[in-house]
């Protein structure tokens, strides 16, 4: 039985870090609690940034509610630079050293920068991750643009495209793959969303990449595609994925790389030698953990719901004493997106799915629930404008129900199993 902690340091002051801080206090932790954040802002919420904030409906101040009696010491604009596992100390950029009994690493991810730095430096070229990004891009979108070129076939790219169409800005969306959103939704559903985007006026280009950008006076003026086409534009948003903020852990002895910070089922960080790093936990986008709903395959989940749930599990386990009192992180990944007037929700992970069945509604109506199967088991379900049934599918996924999971149901077409 380890001694109860007196000093807890949380590195990363976003959704996961703040949720962990709240959970620690709710569970009676009365000691010193320090949150270290690289950004200058109080913890804020990111989902509205690509939607209402860009659109100009909300201000970029999406500060998350913080309990007035949290009694946490916040250090904003102060990235952690080094971790000394043996000495149990976190070092920050200003040279300050924060000793801890328990440490939570929740440093998340950042937007993957455009690979050509000279092009990335052109005015009019953006990435979108932080509220400052959203504020700058939002202001730019409201300056009567010629055309926005979006690069990336993921949800951020599509949400920004949708926002641009709401603002009546011409949009070209460049997707490297043959189908958009396929990684999350599979080709069939991804294709459906692509179709809707086209109908809403998005110039969607599949299997299309940028060869180079053109600028004049330091401003973006056009992009040249690999097939030689030239598109004039004054705004480019690179939504080409994320990088995990693990560089500060170099040399710490923790097992961390581009795939994330490796942790065990109890959110405990692991060392490169595979042993548990005593007192060190991880949560949120940066953590790579064994997913019990997928035979403990390692996964890093960049979803809002996981960040909160994992932070709560990590907080409980930080105070648990020893492993016998810890609980598994068994969150079932889920996320939602709003774009082009559709609400898309997904529970489970579609990766590796080998079967799909429409279980409610239809592709034609664009209102449906689709279940995903893998090896005869139900692993995920996606809803487009019909999320109310998802809890039943969530239960089926948790139970690893045979695929297709729920038959003879309301509003159910004849079930036909197809490729996802």
């Amino acid at each position: 039985m380890t001694t109860p902690p007196e000093r807890i340091v949380v590195v990363g002051a976003s959704l996961a870090g703040l949720a962990a801080a709240h959970a620690l206090r709710e569970r009676g932790f009365a000691g010193r609690l320090t949150l270290v954040g690289a950004e200058p802002h109080r913890p804020y919420d990111r989902p509205p940034l690509s939607k209402q904030v860009l659109r100009g409906l909300y201000s970029a101040d999406t500060t998350l509610p913080c309990h007035p009696e949290l009694r946490a010491e916040f250090r904003f604009g102060q990235p952690a630079t080094r971790l000394d596992l043996a000495g149990r100390v976190v070092e920050c950029e200003d040279g300050s050293r924060l000793p801890y009994d328990r440490l939570l690493i929740a440093t998340g991810t950042r937007a993957r920068p455009w690979p050509n730095p000279a092009e990335a430096a052109l005015a009019g070229v953006f990435t979108l991750r932080d509220r400052d990004d959203a504020e700058r891009l939002g202001a730019h979108l409201r300056t009567k643009l010629q055309r926005v070129v979006l690069v990336g076939g993921g949800f951020i790219g599509f949400e920004v495209a949708s926002t641009c169409r709401d603002l009546d800005i011409p949009v070209t969306l460049l997707v490297r793959d043959a189908v958009p959103l396929a990684a999350a939704l599979g080709p069939r559903l991804g294709g459906l969303i692509g179709e809707v985007a086209r109908e809403k006026g998005v110039d969607l280009r599949l299997e299309s990449e940028i060869e180079r950008m053109e600028g004049a006076g330091g401003r973006l003026t056009a992009v040249i595609l690999k097939d030689g086409e030239r598109i004039e534009t004054d705004c480019l948003v690179a939504a080409i994925g994320t990088l995990r903020n693990v560089e500060w852990l170099d040399g710490s002895g923790l097992e961390a790389d581009a795939g994330g910070l490796r942790c065990d089922a109890f959110c405990r960080a692991l060392r490169a030698d595979g042993r548990v790093a005593e007192g060190v936990f991880a949560a949120g986008d940066v953590a790579r953990w064994p997913n019990p709903h997928d035979d403990d395959a390692l996964v890093a989940v960049e979803h809002w719901g996981n960040a909160r749930a994992q932070a709560e599990t990590a907080a409980a386990n930080m105070l648990a004493g020893d492993a016998s009192a810890m609980r598994r992180h068994d969150h079932l990944p889920d996320f939602w997106s709003q774009q082009f007037g559709l609400t898309i929700k997904l529970v489970g992970l579609t990766e590796g799915a080998d079967a799909l069945a429409v279980v409610h509604g239809s592709f034609k109506e664009r209102r449906l629930v689709a279940a995903f199967g893998k090896g005869g088991r139900t692993v995920a379900a996606a809803a487009i404008d019909s999320a109310r049934w998802l809890p039943a599918y969530k239960a089926a996924i948790r139970e690893r129900a045979p695929f297709p999971p729920i038959e003879n149901a309301v509003d159910q077409p004849r079930i036909r199993v197809q490729e996802p």
Binding site: E365, A395, D411
Partner: protein, 412 residues
């Protein structure tokens, strides 16, 4: 009542005043088969799960009854069968499944805007002040007749756009049609015959009103629905309007009356609400858990459904006993205690899943305005009989009268 099932006992008016011990008994078997093949779900975990289960249908209305002959061929062979067929094909959306349910509910939600609902607060306060004003000089009131009934009727009529002079008539219709929510009563032939007559009257009335709204649209829900181009046909529109009307006040009357009854039974909470009106939202959530206006809803199993160690068979009627789940000790510690400070109060007072109460925001406003005003203005108020007499319904459960003695009425 020996030999009768637990659910029969719940339906028995003798147990209306305090069904909670029966609910506790029922919860011993989370999904309990009754002798007639009905399955009663009474625990929170199972109910929360089944209420979002697509294998359970809300389309459980019985076929319209066979009619007694009137001897008028046009009536017997044409008018009544046609009307019955229309009713069968266009039931209100609480008795429908997706996709029809979603389409109709979506159209209603578009009219039930947050601005419009919030805008009803001032009107609710005005009606409340007026009704309380009329209690001046009285030493005895019946809260139900003098307050809890007229308030929501006036509010829902205003919101829908029913002229004030027709309210009394609506009140009568709504009371009668509310019996359709009681499975034992809606299968009783006499009740059904009355409902048929009543529905015909209200449908004829609404048909006329809709015509007027189309000619001269006003800022009300019926006008919005009537002129919505992608809107519903007249049969669905009438069924929807009837639903909003019945659901809009047969439920709220219970919430307000149960609220006052609870505050008088636990006067420290009445005192607290008077001193700190800002606790009203939490207090009302607890009220929705502790004494919900709707105790159960009925469903139909479309297929065999394994749950809690048993299988609900295909075609079995299912009862969602919301009020029992709200007192489930596995979900709510010390569940029989009325505690407005209860954390994480995820009650089922407004149901759940895709049929979650459309009017929840309105009900919350009405209850808030009503209860705050009552505790602030009624002086020296006490119950003259406890338990009070109850209305016959076991689902829409609430006092028929709540007779109170009072010493006076404070000014606004």
């Amino acid at each position: 009542m020996s030999g009768s099932t637990l659910f029969d006992q719940i339906l028995d008016p003798a147990n209306r005043a305090n069904p909670y011990p029966l609910y506790a008994e029922l919860r011993k078997i989370p999904v309990a088969r009754q002798e007639d093949g009905t399955y009663v779900v009474s625990t929170h975990a199972e109910l929360a799960r089944l209420i979002s289960d697509p294998r359970i249908s809300s389309d459980d209305l019985p076929d319209p009854q066979k009619f007694r002959w009137t001897g008028h061929p046009v009536t017997d062979l044409l008018v009544r069968p046609v009307r019955a067929e229309i009713r069968k094909r266009h039931p209100p959306f609480i008795f429908r499944d997706p996709p029809d349910h979603d389409r109709l509910r979506g159209q209603v939600m578009r009219c039930f805007t947050p601005e419009r609902v919030r805008g009803m607060r001032a009107k609710t306060q005005e009606i409340t002040d007026d009704l309380i004003g009329k209690m001046r000089g009285k030493t005895q009131i019946d809260l139900v007749d003098d307050f809890s009934y007229p308030l929501p009727v006036t509010v829902i009529c205003e919101l829908l756009g029913v002229p004030a002079e027709d309210e009394a008539q609506f009140h009568g219709w709504a009371t009668q049609l509310a019996t359709a929510l009681e499975p034992n009563r809606r299968s009783d032939e006499e009740t059904r015959a009355k409902n048929e007559v009543c529905f015909t009257e209200i449908a004829d009335y609404l048909q006329g009103l809709i015509k007027e709204k189309r000619k001269d649209p006003q800022d009300d829900i019926l006008s919005d629905l009537a002129i919505d181009r992608e809107g519903m046909n007249d049969f669905d529109l009438i069924a929807t309007a009837v639903l909003l009307l019945v659901a809009g006040h047969e439920t709220t009357v219970n919430l307000i009356t149960n609220g006052m009854l609870t505050l008088l039974r636990f006067p420290e909470h009445g005192e607290r609400l008077r001193a700190e009106p800002e606790i009203a939202p939490r207090l009302i959530e607890e009220l929705l858990r502790y004494e919900p206006p709707v105790h159960y809803r009925t469903r139909l199993a479309l297929t065999d459904i394994p749950v809690a160690g048993i299988t609900i068979p295909k075609d079995a009627p299912v009862i969602f006993l919301l009020a029992a789940a709200n007192r489930d000790p596995l979900r709510f510690p010390d569940p029989d205690r009325f505690d407005p400070d209860r954390p994480d109060n995820r009650h089922l007072g407004f149901g759940g899943g895709l049929h979650y109460c459309v009017g929840a925001p309105l009900a919350r406003i009405e209850a808030e305005v009503a209860l705050i005003s009552l505790v602030r203005r009624l002086k020296g108020v006490s119950l003259t009989e406890d338990p009070p007499p109850y209305r016959p319904g076991a689902s829409l459960r609430g006092p028929r009268h709540l007779r109170l003695a009072l010493e006076g009425v404070a000014e606004e």
